[in-house]
């Protein structure tokens, strides 16, 4: 279950085209990173997947069925939004109870346990939570939902380093116990890279790439050295993201890491290094 098919999705907000003919498929049981710069169309896409908004063109299907007003499909998706949609005057423990009404598999004990781990007081009202604890509360609710698809939109907003680390660990623990489709949209790419299996990169409403992280990273490498020598090395090679500091230049070469010309590099006195997901992302989306 839980294969998400996005077919030719275009979304306009008035005259603004937020998504432009986006087509790809997310396979079940994988952790996806949905990456893109601000305004790239990530949240629009997530809102479309969860029936919060409707496409101008195209269709989204989960396991072959349209998600449009499809209660059965929607019961199997939990979407943690960046915005708070919960009533401010309600206590967290009551929201857990109500979430269980709508998601019968919601594990209240697990949610309470997680809340305790994160130091989240469930007797507090939603409106009394800080930005960080607001994110923790929503992430805890999402993790405890036990749905086949869990979507996190900026789950680490306002979280300190400790809480971010805890959240990644909990997410992996939850996933390893019960593999499901997880989609994470975030700006903190390097941190989240450790938990992602595949990335979907969107730029200005268009799909740039959808690839396994490993494959994406093995299809590029970094070259660093004296500028003119680096230029000689990259002659005729597809490359992105040239950055020069002083006389030292760093370039990402879009070539399989196994095709590195080690002899030439040795002759030119330049160094190779692994490309980081964040660097690659910046280069791909600039």
């Amino acid at each position: 279950m839980n294969t998400i098919e996005i077919k030719g999705i275009t979304k306009y907000y008035g005259d603004v085209k937020a998504l432009d003919n986006v087509t790809f498929t997310m396979e079940k049981g994988k952790i996806y990173g949905l990456l893109g710069r601000n305004g790239a169309g990530k949240t629009t896409l997530l809102n479309l997947i969860t029936n919060r908004i409707f496409p101008t063109e195209g269709e989204i299907r989960i396991e072959g069925g349209s998600i449009y007003e499809n209660d059965k499909m929607l019961r199997n998706i939990f979407y943690m939004t960046e915005k708070n949609l919960y009533p401010g005057d309600e206590k967290l423990k009551n929201i857990f109870k109500w979430t269980r009404q709508f998601y019968p598999a919601f594990d209240i004990d697990y949610a309470k346990g997680l809340a305790e781990k994160f130091g989240l007081n469930i007797n507090k009202k939603v409106k009394d939570l800080s930005t960080g604890y607001g994110s923790i509360f929503k992430a805890v609710t999402a993790l405890a939902s036990n749905t086949g698809i869990i979507i996190f939109d900026e789950p680490i907003l306002g979280l300190d380093a400790n809480h971010r680390d805890m959240l990644y660990k909990e997410l992996l623990a939850n996933y390893s116990q019960n593999p499901r489709t997880i989609i994470i949209s975030t700006h903190l790419i390097e941190e989240v890279a450790q938990v992602l299996e595949e990335v979907v990169i969107i730029k200005e409403g268009k799909l740039v790439t959808k690839q396994p992280v490993e494959e994406l990273l093995s299809g590029a490498y970094t070259v660093t050295g004296e500028a003119s020598r680096v230029n000689r090395y990259i002659e005729g090679k597809k490359h992105i993201g040239g950055e020069t500091i002083g006389n030292v230049k760093t370039v990402i070469v879009l070539e399989d890491i196994n095709n590195k010309n080690k002899a030439l590099a040795k002759e030119l006195g330049i160094d190779f290094s692994k490309v980081q997901l964040q660097r690659l992302f910046i280069s791909l989306t600039n």
């Binding site: 029936n51 007003e69 499809n70 209660d71 019961r75 949609l85 709508f102």
Partner: protein
């Protein structure tokens, strides 16, 4: 439908504190009036219970969309389920409040000089007719509140201004047409109200109940069109 039922439960949960507070005040006033009336040999009376409930339900209808819609959206509830669930909550709440008001009116009329809204308008009424009449009226007003709040939610800034101005413009136009036609429109409207409310049919409260429910059904149909593709807004 299971999800719609859960929405109904949530909507009733969301409203119960307000309803309890409302009836706490009503019971307090009614009790104080009853005691004072007995002490003052019937010179102190109490009225307007039905009207108070109508106002309460209208305001409840106005307040009954944004927060609960966002919460159900947070739980991926389809709009159709939200609509059916909320509609069921309206009917249950209107029936409950009509029942409480009818019982309260009956008790009060035994203790003090009290006439319910339906008796004031129609002269007399059986408990069943009064109950159904109140139910229809309450359903209509809670739906009216919901309809208005939904229009405002869907509208952009310009539309909100237009919607706010429309009643005033209509009023001015109405006055102008009235002056030009010698009151033809107001007579037609009064005639229509008289028929719809059952005054033209020997004070038939059942006619009014039917009219209230028919009007509520029309409003709910418009609500369905408004909610069908409504996005989540701040």
């Amino acid at each position: 439908m299971n999800t719609a039922f859960k929405v109904t439960k949530y909507q009733l949960y969301y409203s119960y504190k307000g309803v309890m507070a409302f009836y706490a005040i009503i019971f307090l006033i009614a009790s104080a009036t009853a005691v004072l009336s007995i002490k003052a040999s019937g010179k102190v009376t109490f009225g307007g219970l039905g009207a108070a409930t109508v106002i309460f339900l209208f305001i409840a209808g106005l307040d009954w969309f944004k927060s609960s819609f966002k919460f159900t959206m947070a739980n991926n509830v389809p709009r159709r389920e939200f609509y059916y669930g909320t509609m069921a909550a309206f009917v249950i709440l209107a029936a409950f409040m009509a029942l409480v008001d009818t019982v309260l009116s009956g008790i009060l009329s035994l203790i003090i000089s009290y006439e319910s809204l339906v008796v004031q308008l129609y002269g007399s009424s059986t408990y069943l007719a009064g109950l159904l009449w109140s139910f229809g009226l309450y359903t209509l007003f809670v739906c009216l509140g919901w309809f208005i709040t939904m229009i405002y939610y869907r509208a952009n800034k310009l539309m909100k201004i237009i919607i706010t101005i429309i009643p005033f413009v209509t009023g001015i136009l109405f006055g102008y047409i009235e002056r030009q036609t010698g009151g033809v429109m107001s007579r037609a409207i009064l005639d229509f109200i008289g028929r719809a409310m059952g005054f033209a049919y020997n004070n038939n409260t059942y006619m009014a109940t039917f009219s209230f429910l028919a009007a509520a059904a029309v409003l709910l149909s418009f609500c369905f069109l408004l909610i069908r593709r409504v996005p989540v807004k701040d």
